[in-house]
């Protein structure tokens, strides 16, 4: 039977929405939305994106078998159910890259490393702590300060030859560090690369803690598109002598959570149906 499910990932930086058609084991991606929150109400954006993907796929709300939220969306009224971020990123990760054995999600405020098996089962994970240093938000702030567009960060960072490390652990104090660097005449690319390296070092640390030893790691979340960060993570892995791990990104990485939610929604839907059938029998 063909069903439609929607996954909505309400992050702290952006709201991502994915609409899927599933049929037995087959899933097809019909529509998507990614809205940067930029001080708007995320719940409203979620609603809006929901309407838009439906319109794009020419479906009505009744056609949707399961709407699953993830991220901060536990309270969304029109959702059928909620899955936790790492559950959905794991699933989304294997959807995007069947070889992925770990997913590293770098969001606006938190970073997470999730070690998974071939089916997207979470084996272990590690999240950054309550201190926001080295988050996506921080990188974005710095980039703004340096006058660099988010999309350019990666390219610039990759041209750096003498990365300047940021020593402060606190994002606020690190901002001052960066300001100091600018006044010392450190080139923009070296600053960006320095930040990338310190972020990468944190991420690799998370990854190591999960226990993964080899295999492919998929970067997900907004910063997965940042080629400079990807390169920095690669370097860091080599530095750390865990070269058996290969990192990759995917153009749709930012949707991993939304994809996972939609797919888990389909799974739950079937399971609930089966339970109902059993109950009726």
């Amino acid at each position: 039977m063909t069903i439609h499910t929607i996954g909505i990932d309400i992050g702290s930086g952006a709201v991502k929405t994915a609409l899927f058609r599933s049929d037995g084991g087959q899933s097809e991606w019909l529509a998507r939305r990614c809205e940067r929150i930029r001080r708007r109400d995320p719940m409203e954006l979620a609603r809006q994106s929901y309407d838009e993907v439906l319109a794009e796929a020419q479906l009505a709300p009744d056609d949707v078998a399961y709407t699953a939220t993830t991220g901060e969306g536990e309270n969304v009224k029109f959702a059928t159910g909620h899955f936790y971020t790492m559950t959905t990123h794991a699933r989304g990760g294997v959807y995007l890259d069947a070889e992925a054995r770990a997913v590293v999600d770098i969001g606006a405020l938190n970073g997470r490393a999730i070690y998974i098996d071939a089916r997207g089962k979470v084996l272990s994970y590690k999240m950054t702590s309550q201190c926001a240093s080295g988050s996506g938000q921080f990188l974005e702030n710095i980039a703004r300060y340096l006058g660099v567009a988010v999309e350019e960060i990666g390219r610039l960072s990759k041209t750096s030859e003498h990365p300047e490390k940021v020593s402060s652990i606190c994002a606020v104090l690190a901002e001052t560090d960066v300001i100091n660097m600018v006044s010392r005449g450190i080139p923009t690319q070296d600053i960006l690369k320095g930040i990338h390296l310190s972020m990468a070092s944190r991420l690799v640390k998370l990854l190591k803690v999960t226990g993964i030893k080899s295999g492919k790691v998929l970067l997900t979340g907004g910063l997965a598109l940042d080629a400079g960060l990807l390169a920095a993570v690669q370097e860091e892995l080599v530095n750390e002598k865990i070269g058996a791990i290969e990192v990759a990104s995917h153009p749709d990485s930012i949707y991993a959570g939304a994809i996972g939610a939609a797919l888990w929604g389909a799974f739950r839907h079937d399971k609930l149906k089966a339970l109902q059938a059993r109950a009726a029998a």
């Binding site: 702590s129 020593s167 652990i169």
Partner: protein, 459 residues
Amino acid sequence: MSTPIQIVPGTSTPKKPPPAQKEDSMLLQKELINGNYHELATAREMNRKVSATFVPGNLNELLMCFDFARSLPETNALQNGMRKKSGKMIMDAERDGHSEDVCTYVKADLGMMLQGQVGPTGEALPTPDVLLLSYTGCFTFMKWFELIRQKYDCETVMLHVPYQGDGRISKNMRDYVLKQLKEKVIPTLEKVSGVKFDIDRLRQYMKESVKAEEDLVWTLQSAKHKPSPIDGYFGAVYYIGPIFTAFRGTPEATKFYSVLRKEIEQRIREGKGPVTPEGEHPGEKYRLVVEGPPNWTSFREFWKMFYDEGAVVVASTYAKVGGVYDFGFRHDPDHPLESLAEYCLGCYTNLNFPQRIDMICKYLDEYQADGLLINSIKSCNSFSAGQLLILREVERRTGKPAAFIESDLVDPRYFSAANIKNRLESYFQMVKQKRAAGMGAKPAGHAPMPPIVPAPTAH
């Protein structure tokens, strides 16, 4: 804490080696320390068993009775810190699942093991045959050795040293330690080493200890001179190295301290101040007492912030972590085991708060210091938890200004030079300004600093 120092002059700073200020004592110390690492590295070849133990309350003389090669993990961590290797080790340990929040000595040690146990001098260190867990003054010690045991399956022997909660050593405490020594520690060491315990051998070592202890105390107290011929913190960490570690009880240590003493006598005669890594001290402007361990990863930079401003540390509590000798305690060859128990119970971090505060106030007075500086160490709950009360109490009791800075032992991420410099500078300027305004003249018109317990108003 707890960390004694064995610094090999010259190797500790990558930039410029210290100028030709190498006195005999320094050369000797370098020899001793390198010698010990070599001994450890070749212990297996030489068919020697290896022990590991902690600095505070270390039972070096006892371990020597069983022919152990002696490793001190704290010292390894600090040596690695000075050689700027600890940062990586700590990160490795954190990646191996250790929390960011816990003591970095432990993580530096575990990180070193993860890297193949290569010691500070580049030679591989053997896995210990026995962990002597002399649980003195720090709770983390216990977890530390449990962690090592879990990984390496080493034989562990616990010597639980009760804390001086009431500020005194009771008979119950002494008996407890003594009994553990006799019934647990010595039998285990005999078993592991295959050497029979000989109490006369212990007495012999202790006689050497006493000689070194006398000269050490003399050295540390030489700072009462004006100008002080030594730095009682940055310099003292070199001086306490041999006696707080694998050398107490050896003739080498005795010799080291007598050479040291002669050098300092000479400096006093010449009216000289302490030696710094950059040569003679630029002149004593401030005399400070310091509480808390130093930072090792930026030791030279840290020290420079003091001598550049003309500050000399005349006394420090850290120079007492491996034994508080300046209030009279000596190892006693006539009652060897009893005096070991006494020694363990009396270590600085085994003292309670009123005792620690008394000691600091005494130093401020006896060494005619201008004020107290606390270097609070993120790693070390044993030292740090409650230091802010020490600060308040000392200020209140002595009327001398105190200041507070924060860093870590061996985690370079926690040494913020700008931050520390800012505070030190402010502190020195404050002391100077106060002095210029006619120090001591208690200004009228203000309420005095409130007592520790503010009068609470009902909520």
